[in-house]
Symmetry: C2
Subunit: 325 residues, 2 copies
């Protein structure tokens, strides 16, 4: 069994909290956040002691129609600077680049000219070689990098070992365990984290965890993997994220013992921005349809469609899922 690092009273200086509200939450509203929302979230994250704020995706505008999305699907340098200026703060800025959905050679300037600190490369397991090519490029440009291997609950142990070996030999800084389907239990998540940590630490790299809340375990999995040595922790305000959402930042900040993390600033943001956002009709969070796909270890797309249609016939939906196993 994986041992724990520290205890419930420890301050772990290696912990880095990453706010992914605009990025994973943006999947709920096509990245249409008001400038006021984004600016306030930026200030809130700084006050709350958040270590990294992810502004969104760096999607290829040749592949996605810019008129159909808010700016945070593309994260142009000037759009980020319009919010943060030169980011005169201790908080770092990240963006996500998906393998195959990003023109990474064209759309990234050298780090010396950018306000972005870290590029997170998201891929499926078969895309690891493509991810490493991107990581090498971003590393040469001077960025911190992560590799976020998605949908890990459907990958065999052998493949994970192979991917970790390749990443250990790459210049990537952080390897992320990503529970895209929200199907991991803390016991699975911790065992996987141990595998990641064993490979990463030998190569001087860190491990991160990105949770989904399909089985209401996003926070539990996050604090269990962190207790095993995972140090990069993704969270979003009120868990805002695709489908069942993510680990809630307010739960995570309330758990962490380092006094640099401050819950109160976040509460003011929730009251002023998140409650109205929900009231305006943006939908996310744990519900039965996501529990089903989490329990069945499946992509949440059918549950998202069930939600979007406003359906409430859970039994019928469950039978549909079983028929399509």
């Amino acid at each position: 069994m994986a041992q724990r690092i520290g205890n419930l009273m420890s301050v772990r200086d290696d912990i880095k909290v990453l706010d992914a509200t605009l990025r994973d939450g943006g999947l709920c509203n096509d990245f249409r956040f008001s400038d006021d929302f984004v600016r306030s979230l930026y200030k809130t994250n700084i006050k709350s002691g958040v270590d990294y704020m992810e502004f969104g995706y760096k999607a290829d505008p040749d592949l996605f129609d810019v008129s159909e999305y808010g700016p945070w699907k593309f994260c142009r340098e000037e759009d980020i600077r319009a919010i943060v200026g030169d980011n005169v703060s201790d908080m770092k800025i990240s963006v996500m680049a998906d393998v195959g959905r990003c023109n990474f050679r064209r759309d990234f300037v050298p780090k010396s000219e950018s306000v972005i600190d870290m590029v997170r490369v998201a891929c499926y397991i078969h895309q690891i070689p493509a991810a490493i090519e991107m990581i090498e490029h971003f590393h040469e440009l001077g960025y911190e990098t992560t590799c976020n291997i998605m949908a890990i609950s459907q990958v065999s142990g052998n493949q994970i070992e192979e991917a970790l070996t390749m990443l250990a030999a790459s210049p990537v800084d952080v390897i992320y365990l990503v529970d895209s389907y929200g199907s991991l239990y803390p016991e699975n998540a911790s065992a996987l984290a141990k595998t990641y940590l064993d490979a990463a630490e030998k190569a001087g790299k860190k491990v991160g965890f990105h949770a989904h809340n399909n089985q209401n375990l996003a926070f539990a999995n996050t604090i269990d993997t962190l207790s095993r040595g995972v140090s990069f922790l993704d969270a979003t305000v009120q868990g805002m994220g695709r489908g069942a959402g993510n680990c809630a930042m307010e739960l995570l900040l309330g758990f962490l013992k380092n006094p640099k993390y401050n819950l109160y600033s976040l509460l003011a943001f929730i009251e002023q921005y998140m409650i109205p956002l929900r009231a305006s009709g943006v939908v996310w969070g744990y519900d039965l349809q996501y529990m089903f796909t989490g329990q069945l270890n499946r992509h949440p797309r059918e549950a998202m469609s069930f939600t979007a249609k406003g359906r409430g016939d859970y039994c019928e939906f469950y039978k549909e899922l079983l028929e399509n196993e």
Copy 2:
């Protein structure tokens, strides 16, 4: 660190699932469930493989006005029999008796004359002697018994050891760890479970766990303590219970590997009864105000009042809590 019993694929024949929807959920609607609801829940629990169904409290009608509550605050023998007849099923029936709120010598008939199988005695730590007196009485009457020590997160380790020693010497069958404030993390809950198990197993007794969802950890804590050897697991349909509610039965049944547990029957009940119950205005479940009291390890009463008043000023409420620390 506490070791785990079995693994994620194991069938644990010692596991007993207890549905506390009427009892803990009854705290949300003054126990006013329709007979149709109760009868359908009874049938559903049998089909779902639930091991015990708790019908409510056995409160003293001299202390509580029977006109102000539904029947399940009092659980008269004839009211239970009106639902279950002689309970010709493999599922057992329990009721809860609170120390100091129950006329236990008058209001319980011998087990041979009752459809009730188990009496769960709930108490605070200082009431253990009174609880043991009740347990001895119920044991003499022929009932299975549990002792549910509430608000354990505010009790010192020494007191817990003393209480467990006393209970180990009593005729009680099951000792329950109860996270009344929802303030335990899985790491705490498991450490406490280990303490309970060490004391209980030597005396041939079982350990149970009753979770609250203030920090969205009710399910996580339940499956973590069960993996350490806890065998009596409380859950409620959709987590219906006081304040932030409890461990959701649908999450628990989805987790357990014993094929006797059946999720689909429960879904039909949720669709037909629980969704309308919520729509009718009965309120429970995780929300920020309960997260605060969970994080602060406090009784949820102020959060319940905040909810009842329909307040949304989370910041102001948080400050009030801090002022009254």
